[in-house]
Symmetry: C2
DNA sequence: ACCAAATGTGGCATCGATGCCACATCGGCG
DNA sequence: CGCCGATGTGGCATCGATGCCACATTTGGT
């Protein structure tokens, strides 16, 4: 019976329930809407008596503030955007978990987007977050453009895990160089001099830092680093496996360091496939400790980068920034790492 | 210098940028605000020429729709709440990843909340989502009250992974009974008759279903099930390890099935600790295939419940419901499982 | 007692996009 | 040649909460 509706609209199930508004609460409590607003929101003045009365009334009729209206009017929002590359990778999941925990404690919400490491998806997500008028975003950036656009629009940005070029956003990083150096030195101390490094990228601060730590350890210990032992690979486990195969075929190495948890998976698969005894014949170690690494036999020696804590740091930093508690200068937080020695690393053979 | 401000408000960094509104776009394109709205939003009539002109104008001045205003006025929202128990558990991470993927494809956003399996946090989150006026929520419920409250407020709910009592919400489940039965029968076919089941809960459909499948397999194969072999434990790996220890001490079992991925971790730890040869001395299998299970030696035989696909299903179902494409009757989707036989299960000893 | 300051509450406009209707314009057909 | 419907556009009110100010009332000081 739509009067003159042209395109008959799809039948959308109605919200059905009319939700109470401040007006309703006001009537119920016998005060004005303004007073209700002040009484429910902590900030603002209202006598204890009125406040109690209003709260009781709100409770009674099941009033729940409309965030949309609130956000619109007050030009703020308690939703925070979180842009990560792969939720299925425990690193990002832990990061997100840490962020969520801290945000929730501060009564903020997390809008999580998986950009799959894809620049187009990342920009798309940034646009969506702008539309939501979020006051801040935490991102493991794929492109420098994304944080840039967000900032240009007045959104606070914290980059997590990596830094792209010279941005001026706050950033929280693992202490990649130190972590990688300690891991490498651990192997050197065990007598290894020919150590392969499996790494997927060095354009971002993450890979660059880990590579730098690897180099530094060699330098400090007066070991000539054979550049061919730096095995560049793609970011998935299968590629890492093939690269490991090639590395083992072409070079004599007594130990392998994988630059992240995914690559470690490929490396381990190849070593097992070759029935190499770890650590007797070859040692294996990885940057980024994730749960499976302590379940395999032998358990892997790793660098634990306290990923959940990194997430928390990101959130705390962002919130502080939003609240205006920080000086203008960009802040860089380096989260310390911890070397976790397990069974997969041992004395160099021979 | 605040004129008569009482509680001096915290200095909050201003949004700084005034974002363009439809009015601005209207001026730029030489049309009215209404027209801009129609031209940008696909629905509604606008001549191709105007539409192009408006879009160009919007692009030029960097206009981005304000979701808050849109949501408020049109009483809709494209944010979907997702309430899960533990993002760090790969099961939930995969579920969330599947959900996010499907939501993003439909231009919806995911607001993710970790309730830690805690009823209070769960209700708190439900309230927040009500405040956000989300049209739907996907939840792995802890309490029946949560889906109930949401529904009472006109929010569509899809329960994922488990069902609590007699709710009338849509639900997406793994085919627990069949999966568990197949896994158990696989062991029975290998000659096992004394199989321990490590399980943490049976109040929810998840545990109940898996237990039922375990029983059914015994029944169908005319094996008397010793009730003592059903080892009830708590939901963490450490507890599972202790329970496994007790199970092994008190009973002769030739195989152990763990009802989920976390418990498997505990069971495996205990078996390794006892230096039991898997599968020669004892077989181990688990419900819920997660990545580490194929990395350990021997790799674990599991039931893969296609978690990511479950997540996608949840999202598809919810969106269909929101769009009003579904009949009123509640829908139950059982996602089929797949038995993945690996090295951890073998013939029963003796 | 009287006035000033402190305190608490109500009124009203407003945030930005959109639903709804009125109306201008155009083309087609009798 | 004029009327009517189709088509496209503009005007205006509205979603719900809150910022800001005015004003009523109380308190305290002298």
């Amino acid at each position: 019976m739509s009067p003159r509706g042209q395109a008959a609209r799809a039948v959308v199930s109605q919200p059905a329930v009319r939700r109470p508004t401040v007006q309703d609460v006001a009537r119920e409590a016998g005060v004005s809407a303004s007073t209700v607003s002040r009484a429910l929101h902590t900030r603002g003045y209202a006598s204890p008596a009125v406040r109690a009365r209003v709260q009781a009334a709100a409770e009674r009729i099941g009033y729940v503030t409309d965030h949309n209206a609130r956000n619109l009017r007050s030009r703020t929002s308690t939703s925070i955007g979180v842009l990560i590359s792969d939720l299925r990778n425990p690193f990002y999941a832990d990061l997100a978990a840490g962020i969520e925990e801290e945000l929730r404690a501060a009564e903020y919400q997390m809008v999580l987007v998986n950009d799959s490491g894809n620049p187009a998806d990342e920009m798309q997500a940034a646009e969506t977050l702008l539309a939501m008028r979020v006051p801040g975003v935490i991102v493991t950036p794929v492109t420098a453009k994304c944080p840039q656009v967000l900032q240009d629009n007045g959104v606070h940005v914290v980059c997590a895990d990596r830094e792209l070029g010279r941005s001026n956003s706050d950033v929280v990083l693992s202490d990649n160089k130190t972590g990688a150096r300690e891991l490498t030195e651990h192997l050197i101390a065990l007598g290894h001099t020919r150590i392969g490094l499996l790494i997927d990228e060095t354009k971002w601060s993450t890979g660059a830092g880990r590579l730098a730590g690897f180099r530094a350890a060699h330098l400090d210990n007066f070991i000539d680093l054979d550049e061919d032992l730096i095995a560049y690979t793609s970011f998935d486990a299968d590629a890492a496996r093939l690269t490991t195969r090639k590395l083992l075929n072409d070079h004599e190495v007594t130990a392998i360091i994988s630059a992240n948890n995914v690559l470690a998976q490929g490396a381990l698969a190849e070593l097992k496939d070759r029935r190499l005894k770890i650590p007797r014949q070859i040692s294996l170690a990885a940057y980024d400790d994730v749960p499976w690494m302590s379940l395999v036999q032998p358990a892997l020696t790793t660098v634990d980068q306290s990923t959940v804590e990194m997430g928390r740091s990101c959130a705390r930093l962002l919130l502080a920034r939003i609240r205006g508690e920080l000086p203008a200068k960009r802040r860089l937080i380096k989260v310390p790492t911890r070397l976790v020695v397990r069974g997969s690393t041992g004395p160099a053979p021979r």
